[in-house]
Symmetry: C2
Subunit: 341 residues, 2 copies
Amino acid sequence: MNAHETRAAEIAAGILRGERGTLARAITLAESSRDDDQELASQVITNVLPATGKALRLGVSGPPGVGKSSFVEALGCHILDRHKVAVLAIDPSSPKTGGSILGDKTHMEELARSERAFIRPSPGGTSFGGSSFGGSSFGGNTLGGVAAHTREAILLCEAAGHDVVLVETIGVGQSEYAVADLCDLLLLLVQPGAGDELQGIKRGIMEVADALVVTKADGDLTAPARRAHQDLVAAIHVRHASAPMPPVFVCSARERTGFAELWREISACHAGWVESGEIARRRAAQDLRWFEREIEVQVVKRFLAQSSVAAAMPIVIAEIRERRTTPLVAARRMVRSVLGG
Amino acid sequence: MNAHETRAAEIAAGILRGERGTLARAITLAESSRDDDQELASQVITNVLPATGKALRLGVSGPPGVGKSSFVEALGCHILDRHKVAVLAIDPSSPKTGGSILGDKTHMEELARSERAFIRPSPGGTSFGGSSFGGSSFGGNTLGGVAAHTREAILLCEAAGHDVVLVETIGVGQSEYAVADLCDLLLLLVQPGAGDELQGIKRGIMEVADALVVTKADGDLTAPARRAHQDLVAAIHVRHASAPMPPVFVCSARERTGFAELWREISACHAGWVESGEIARRRAAQDLRWFEREIEVQVVKRFLAQSSVAAAMPIVIAEIRERRTTPLVAARRMVRSVLGG
């Protein structure tokens, strides 16, 4: 065993003992843009792999202001006596701004105080995805890069004994699809209020959500939340005429109401899907997509790293800008000149 | 000049003379999955490139049933005395089913009769995107593959003298983003009816749409269309408090009302953006993304075509299925074993 393998084994052992600091450091390694860090993280994950896969992986998404963090804290606290909870976040703003949706205000003070909870606010300010050049970022889907690191973080949390992993994301752009693709179940949170407010729900996301949850059913918003619940049930009934309908729940993070019913249904659904093989089927499909995406990322990264590519790139981009060639022809020519054929 | 170049020159000349049959055949070549067809199409496009880029490229999207085809026909007929119109379609269902959203009913009988219009209902039943294996399709974004062919079709239509190119797509999944990325302006069509009906509008797509159009403002739906218009103006006002607001139009394809105002605004906006350099800026960014995407597609295709990759693939996929390795580690290992390093 070389020094590298020894270090990986030590980190893996720490994670399996449930050391939160070691878990946090391993996730940082996985998120690092340095090759040696990623290599070490991969070795650690390989070591702990037999101890992974046991958690209920629950995605939580919704529009800005819907109260995701309060919801996650309330749900986490509700199940903390029976489960070790981990909270992760996919932050679609991170690749561009280096900022964080959760960094400044986590709203999870109570959950954070528990020894049984592990909270990782966001992938932080590290940069993800492929190389960038010409003022534009390669790799197409930098969100995919962030999601790839979250997949590794889920495995690490599972190895540390967390049997519920909550993955939250803000519902902008394509981030819900990224979360849906790495969780067993996806909850879509919805603002109380009908009509106008419900506009924010995307048609596509309704189809990947396994359940809808109307938040903030307290105080002045109790009646609007109930109306939103009815409207959603009616809307879903129309849309899902021939398919199983996702259930709609109502809850209040402030008053901690609705979580018992919500969790009962979610955990029963998950247990049923584990039994029926649906979870295994979903995860196998997710793993295959992750593999394909990673092949793409690695192969393109190798190509762009070649010195002949780097040298030709500004010239080719100038030709495209001056409309002396089409992007398609330029790309084919460049690939052929570097890889032959 | 070899036989290949001679044939490309002949096709290019036919397109530049405005021959509709030649234009149609050239688009078929670009859509073909055969390498020699694509090579010929690229040569044709390179030949006609100086004659391209002059059209107003207008995307039209909206939910199923909103009346896109009727809208496109009515708009096309409205401008036919001043413009040569081409209609293209991006069909998100095509890569999977081989079917077509427009194939069976084009709703464009009147436009189709004109010598000045060219209608290409959909990319047809050809297959796009990268190779597929293991029950899943590589390339991540087969829609991107369809869109790439539509980009070439736009250039070919421009070369044939079409100075307005309408690109329609059904608003499901991610297809609107694909259309937004190859047009100068995107119109989002909206059903008349408020509240519930407006739910179908995705938050994200509102941000890439340059204008909204309420359709079917005739008969019983005249009043609902007007209400939808008011609701949309109010909703946009709230959302775009600090940004320029996309205008909202109302029209009836059946009664042919609203199109004069709509076209006046669209063409004035486009002319202003040509003047200001906004169109050039948008197209340069689109071309760069097209180039990057095409590099990815080509490089991954080359990788997957290698015999060692094809041989190793089933073994690696089995390892992932049996959870003996993670997709990330498996992908890195495979890329390293084939490309070295």
